[in-house]
């Protein structure tokens, strides 16, 4: 296969030998790919910046035996604002790891790519409340994988959940009305938090910029998302631990 062009976000990278890197990319055209970037760790190398975490880069790739090979690359957006703020950096890192865990190799998913790029841009615009972007992205990513939590009707009885004594079950995958029996994992869900989650699930970029909600509701949404993701992918997202450690004591989604 001759060299081909692909635009991708760097989700992960590991060092190879003295100066090379293996990068995991989420590309718009080809889905998730793994590629060798030769010389990327040499000082002053142009591909160094282009293969940094959560950088959006235009690549020329060639298919190798087991990995793609980077022949050229040019940074399109390095998101400098996300590298200058610890909270934003931790969130961008987490978004990349989540996207990595929720995608399969060589499975084109332009929607997921667009969501990720948009989330990286939006983090800076919502530096006031970056978790609005984070949880909206989590909801949209889950829904692109077919794991969208049920937020319309009660996931047990199918009835209108109403507004009283609601809860959210990560294992049943959605909201429960006050009349239905709750599993052990049910998280109490104020109706305002359910409303916030519904708005997040369908918000476009402008919608995410405009999202408003109480900090306490945002934390509840965070808890619902954390346990849903843990249940769906059956393993921890490592960067979540660092992100949680940065939150004020007791404010984490725990």
């Amino acid at each position: 296969m001759p060299a081909y062009a692909a635009t991708g976000v760097v989700l992960r990278r590991i060092s190879l030998g003295e100066t090379d890197r293996i990068i995991t990319l989420l590309t718009r055209e080809q889905g998730k790919l793994h590629a060798v970037a030769k010389g990327a760790r040499k000082p002053g190398s142009r591909s160094g910046g282009a293969t940094e975490l959560f950088t959006l880069t235009r690549f020329m790739l060639a298919s190798g035996k087991s990995l793609e090979i980077v022949s050229q690359c040019e940074v399109q957006e390095s998101f400098p604002a996300l590298r200058a703020d610890l909270g934003l950096l931790a969130r961008a890192t987490y978004l990349c790891e989540l996207a990595d865990r929720l995608t399969e190799d060589h499975e084109p998913s332009p929607d997921m790519f667009d969501s990720l790029v948009s989330a990286l841009y939006l983090l800076r615009r919502r530096a006031d409340e970056p978790d609005m972007v984070l949880h909206a992205f989590e909801l949209q990513l889950l829904s692109e994988r077919g794991y969208a939590p049920g937020l319309g009707q009660c996931v047990t009885c199918g009835g209108d959940p109403g507004a009283q004594s609601l809860s959210f079950s990560p294992t049943l995958g959605g909201v429960l009305c006050g009349r239905c029996r709750r599993p052990m994992d049910a998280i109490p869900l104020p109706v305002t938090a359910l409303d916030l989650m519904r708005r997040m699930a369908c918000a476009d970029a402008d919608g995410i910029v405009a999202l408003r909600g109480a900090a306490s509701d945002l934390r509840v949404v965070g808890r619902c998302m954390k346990w849903t993701i843990r249940y769906r992918i059956d393993r921890d997202i490592k960067s979540a631990e660092f992100l949680d450690s940065l939150r004020p004591q007791g404010a984490g989604p725990a």
Binding site: R12, G17, E18, P43, G44, R46, G48, G49, A50, E52, L53, F54, T55, E74, V75, E77, S78, P80, R83, A84, D85, L86, L89, A90, T93, Y94, C96, E97, K238, S239, E241, F242, L243, S245
Partner: protein, 199 residues
Amino acid sequence: MLHYARPLARLVAELEKLPGIGPKSAQRMAFHFLRAPHADAERLAQAIMEVKEKIVFCRECFNFADQEVCDVCRSPKRDGTVICVVAEPRDLMAIERTAEFQGLYHVLQGVISPQEGIMPDMLKIKELLPRIQRHNTTEIIVATNPTVEGEATALYLVRLLKPLGIKVTRIAHGLPAGGDLDYADQATLISALQWRREM
């Protein structure tokens, strides 16, 4: 399939475990030792054993040392009011080679790496605080790499130390010496602009 005599095979197998050494290089090195004078081989073997037996981490700065405290920390000429924080002993050595820096060092023994699960408490970060007090340190220079992990570590130190009234600076990174402006990528140019200085 040709087999080496057992001792030779063992040496090749050990050499192959070295970083950056493949089977071909391992074989070449093994044949080299086979031909080399006995004394050369012995010196190498002894040097390896000596490193294993004598090198410890400095209890002050966590640099490599052959005593409890390393040469830099022991030197009366060094100025503890400025401490340069690095990730690894090899970074300390790189700065030390410039002979420009007269302060002390602090080796974190790694960087914060959220994706690898390397958390701040796994590094020598808390050990920095008593040193700052003891030396009346006024400035911490963070000399980690300009990678996401290096930046995360630098930003974490700022968050930790700024409230204590300590000046935290970051080494400048931008265009490499002898580099070409036109060739630099966006990230490099942005940091070069950010870290500009008055002339």
